[in-house]
Homo-oligomer: 401 residues x 2
């Protein structure tokens, strides 16, 4: 037949799964071969702590006590109004920003928050600035929304955003900038000073090019910060802020696909932007976020899973790796370490690590070559047992004798 | 500012919600004004029967007994393998078609099944044939996937597909045909003879234009058939069949967003098509279908809610309306009656009905003007109490004295 029998771009995406996913699949095979306990898998950001017991209790109570037709019924597209009110109140309580329930759109998780936002905002050919290193799916989401990713590297010494470089990258085609703090893959939380500078620079660049530029703040790791209070809301700094949130990490419900989009209350044309978000949700096939999960998060405001495990993991692993001679920025949050490859090629370093049954992800697909991402959201015991293997890896790489 | 601040097409979709949704919102206001029990709302296809008690029990057992990290964790993109095996076994049991687990992709409901399938298959400008009357969101989904809807009317006497007209509509740009039986909005189930003729005609048309044409079978109402056995699988007739399913109606879980895509086991290039589906799911932001619901449907194979209520509703309403002088095809399934408007304009007819506090949807947005859709998935008591109002409506419209 002379034609394709499918969309070749979608085939390419499906046929070459993300590097992260490919390593995860290797991990499954290797565990089967040599035993679960002998593989040190740091490849994937799957929370290892359970949801709070109160969340499980609330879930049981909903299923046991609520009339099932209403419990499992359609909600309106942007979510049950009671859920939107609950999110609005929670946001106000945490950050003091009076987000209106009418500006909250409940989503099927973080990825949906981003694809819906990008489809709502982007016209074909619009540029979206990504700060490298970045979560690789950002590129997929921007391109699928018809946008063009424009990559601006973070400062190499501390992985904070390079504000002058971002300002210089804004053109009359720029539609948005995606910010992710605490960051996947570096674990760095952007400082208040950098965020304030970024907001100021965006406002001026937007003025210069005569077009509004949105700040899309992807915040799934918002509550996972170890050495400082939870970051303040970028809504306070920049009125064209769209917050994309997910309960995946904070409540350890990653498979349940529940999150939200919220607009800053003083966003110009906020009503129109919200309508575009509703339209994009409809066009992409998101009828409503899962109904039971909408009710669950409404019943559990302000809770988080026991995130202290991640802090302990970070301390243990960061100290040991630094001791071994590895070079990495001390992460403030999330559950990732971004380690400079001691070999010229991060893929080669990852292969060396495999010889010690350590699995992590080379950084090339994150847009910053020469590093590896170590996801330490594993049981503390895995960290402890992996330390001798990391020490041997340091020897293999010539970092110590 | 000289530019839009958002995507105007998405704004238009969000700012003008579907006609169905607009009438539903009117219904909510009117109920508040004159009392719930005085409004006869037949506007929306929201199941009124609860899920089977065994489903609620299974849900409780999962939440109570399963380790929560696994219960709520990410599954792989196409779904947990055990869920895919369960769907494959269920399909084989029902229809005798050996669908492979590897050809099952678990989705966030019917809309997602369709948007993922259309994005996977369509290249820009590809034509997708819709049979009018059709569910209005089909047009939105096709256009968002870059496709062009081509509408072929069903036969006006019985609303069965017009096979010769469909064959004639196939061009070298045709990528797919969407079939929905039992049908929303007519309630008609396509006959085995028509389906066989359609499959044969598609195969020949596909040969004629030198390009594969897919049969997308949208089957959320598959189990809701009243006077004949459940329709057979189109996979038996046509190897390029993609089944899009949702548990919304059969298990009364519409808000939970759980369904699947399944490919016919003998589909040419099925592996490539499946990869494109995985890629499309990834690009649209569907990381995985809700994890708890994946486990729930795996625990409840072959169950359905008590659908006998809908049959009783159909009999009661069809007989009464026919008695009143209204003209409509007796529906075989789903929970819709498609009634010919006794006034030249279906919108005017709907306004007359509002005077009797009866709410239904004029058919224009379904692609076939001159009818109204009555969704009878309501409590039987609503039907009974509405009959005098329908009788008065018949008088208003000159159908009887």
């Amino acid at each position: 037949m002379p034609h394709n029998a499918y969309n070749p771009a979608m085939y390419a995406l499906g046929a070459s799964p993300s590097v992260i996913r490919a390593i995860f699949e290797y991990s499954l095979r290797r565990r089967a071969e040599i035993g679960e306990e002998n593989v040190f898998d740091f490849s994937i950001g799957n929370p290892s702590v359970p949801p709070p017991a109160a969340v499980t209790d609330a879930l049981l109570a909903l299923v046991r006590d609520e009339p099932p037709v209403a419990l499992h019924g359609y909600t309106s597209g942007p979510g049950a109004f009671s859920t939107r009110v609950g999110i609005s109140e929670d946001y106000r309580r945490r950050f003091g920003v009076p987000v209106r329930p009418e500006d909250v759109y409940v989503t099927c998780g973080a990825a949906a928050s981003l694809t819906v936002t990008l489809s709502a905002l982007c016209e074909p050919g619009d540029e979206v600035i990504l700060l490298s290193p970045f979560f690789p799916e950002y590129r997929v989401f921007v391109e699928r929304a018809g946008g063009v990713p424009v990559v601006v590297p973070c400062r190499p010494d501390d992985f904070q955003p390079d504000v002058p470089a971002i300002a210089a990258a804004v053109t009359p085609r720029t539609r948005a900038l995606i910010v992710n703090t605490p960051n996947n893959p570096t674990g760095v939380a952007y400082t208040p000073a950098v965020m304030a500078g970024l907001a100021d620079a965006l406002a001026r660049a937007s003025e210069r090019v005569g077009r509004p530029v949105y700040l899309i703040s992807d915040e799934p790791y918002r509550e996972l910060v170890y050495d400082r209070p939870v970051a303040d809301s970028p809504m306070k700094l920049y009125p064209r802020t769209v917050v994309c949130y997910s309960y995946s990490k904070s409540l350890s419900l990653p498979g349940e696909r529940i999150g939200y989009i919220a607009l800053a209350p003083d966003m110009p044309q906020g009503g129109e932007v919200f309508a575009a978000i509703c339209g994009a949700g409809r066009a992409l096939g998101f009828v409503c976020a899962p109904s039971l999960m909408q009710k669950l998060i409404t019943a559990c405001p302000g809770m988080t899973a026991d995130l202290s495990v991640y802090r302990a993991n970070r301390d243990l692993l960061f100290d040991a790796l630094t001791e071994d001679g590895f070079d990495c920025v001390r992460p403030d949050g999330a559950f990732y370490l971004f380690v400079r490859s001691p070999l010229p090629d991060a893929a080669a370093f990852s292969e060396e690590a495999k010889k010690e049954e350590i699995l992590f992800v080379p950084s090339d697909s994150f847009g910053t070559p020469g590093y590896v991402r170590i996801a330490y959201c594993v049981a503390p015991d895995v960290i402890r047992r992996s330390l001798p293997a990391f020490a041997r890896l340091a020897v293999r790489c010539g970092l110590k004798k």
